[in-house]
């Protein structure tokens, strides 16, 4: 099925929203809805959060458990405050924003994001952290349901991007472990490598590079090809030695040629 330009716009908006909110929230569960919109959802024993991204507008709602929504509405542009609120309310840690802080709350209320005075909501403060393993598991569960297409993001790739940007190198290692699952399809492995290669996140470059370089040894040509593209996308000069070795043993002529092109680029790029 060919996608409409609206679908493309929604995907772009979802990516943009992730970029805007990534520093302020835990990685969401991402779902593509039948109407083409994307949903970001969070659910913990403290409550739930929901953002729906459309072509022209976005809707959001944040609820504490057992209470009416404390924030919600529609907006043309999502502001980071929504991510801050989700994090503070659903994933409180000593380092997260204290929503009882009158300065922060005044700033948030002043921006018109809240339908009531959320400073009255009681939020326990403890060290509970979101389980990275389960988040990675949820992301890979989504990979079975999505249709991969070059140039397009989907629920799976958006979750991977959000997880890596939010949780850093440790989650890249968890993703690498998940890729070794014998049930994992070559398509999912390849798409994960492409995703790790194209995201811009300097903090995780080393960890992502290690995962991608290792994949040059895969028995699957599709996976080796994706690793080659990912190395190109990262302009990963640390991969030149592994790439040379991979070229020597590569049996598929066109893939060998592509590897040689990437190697030449890495060796000559400024």
């Amino acid at each position: 099925m060919e996608k409409s330009h609206d679908d493309d716009v929604v995907g772009q908006n979802a990516l943009w929203a992730l970029d805007q909110l990534q520093n302020f929230m835990c990685a969401p569960e991402v779902t593509r809805n039948p109407d083409g919109t994307f949903s970001f959802e969070w659910s913990t024993d403290r409550g739930s959060g929901f953002i729906q991204i459309g072509a022209g507008r976005s809707a959001y709602q944040v609820c504490a458990l057992g209470s009416a929504p404390i924030a919600g509405g529609a907006a043309q542009d999502l502001e980071p405050y929504v991510g801050m609120l989700v994090n503070a309310l659903l994933y409180p840690t000593p380092s997260s924003i204290c929503i009882g802080d009158p300065n922060v709350s005044a700033q948030l209320v002043g921006c018109g994001w809240f339908t009531q005075d959320f400073t009255t909501v009681s939020v326990p403060k403890d060290d509970e952290t979101h389980s990275s393993d389960s988040a990675v598991g949820r992301a890979f569960a989504a990979s079975d349901l999505v249709e991969f297409e070059d140039g397009k993001e989907n629920e799976f790739t958006l979750q991977i991007i959000a997880l890596v940007k939010q949780q850093g190198p440790q989650v890249v290692e968890r993703i690498a472990r998940a890729l070794t699952d014998r049930k994992r399809s070559n398509e999912t492995i390849a798409q994960t490598l492409l995703c790790l290669g194209r995201m811009h996140d300097p903090a995780t470059l080393g960890a992502r590079s290690r995962v991608v370089r290792k994949a040059l040894n895969s028995p699957s040509a599709i996976v080796r090809d994706a690793a080659t593209v990912a190395i190109d996308s990262m302009a990963d000069r640390d991969a030149t030695a592994e790439l040379r070795t991979a070229i020597e043993r590569e049996p598929v002529p066109s893939l060998r040629k592509d590897m040689e092109s990437v190697l030449a680029y890495l060796e000559t790029a400024p």
Partner: protein, 168 residues
Amino acid sequence: MAKLLRRIQHKPNWDPQGEFSTYLPPGQAPADSLDDIATDANRLSIWQIDDEGTNLDRVLAAMASPRENLQKLDYLIFDIQDVQVLEIPVEASPGNTLDQEANKSWHFHLTHLSAAALASLANRMLARGPARRQNERQLIALLDKSVANGWIDQSRLSPSIRSKLSPP
């Protein structure tokens, strides 16, 4: 003889000397290659490339234009004769890219496709392989050219792609 272009996603499956060639008879496309020519309503989207290939760069830029990232664009070019010999109907059908003229002029659908015809087409396409690739740097250059020529409205490109193009 005009050429046809099909976007593909799994490039190693379209190399006649791919890993599958060690266990499949010569000329037989691997079953996995059918993923790249999946039909919708028994139709397959293709682009027409003129004899001299003068519209190739513009078609590739058009294909890249609605994307959210430009990591790679893989494609395979084959002869219109490969379609005619299989008696597959070809119908003009507007494309869905940001280059409106390319959409109208060069986008077609192969129609009324049967599973058997699709498998035969895959074999014929494989014989025209290997597939080709445009990387991000090449796609940026192609999009720059299409924007400069006024074929694509830069403001409609995704923000991440727009930020990589040359300033107007």
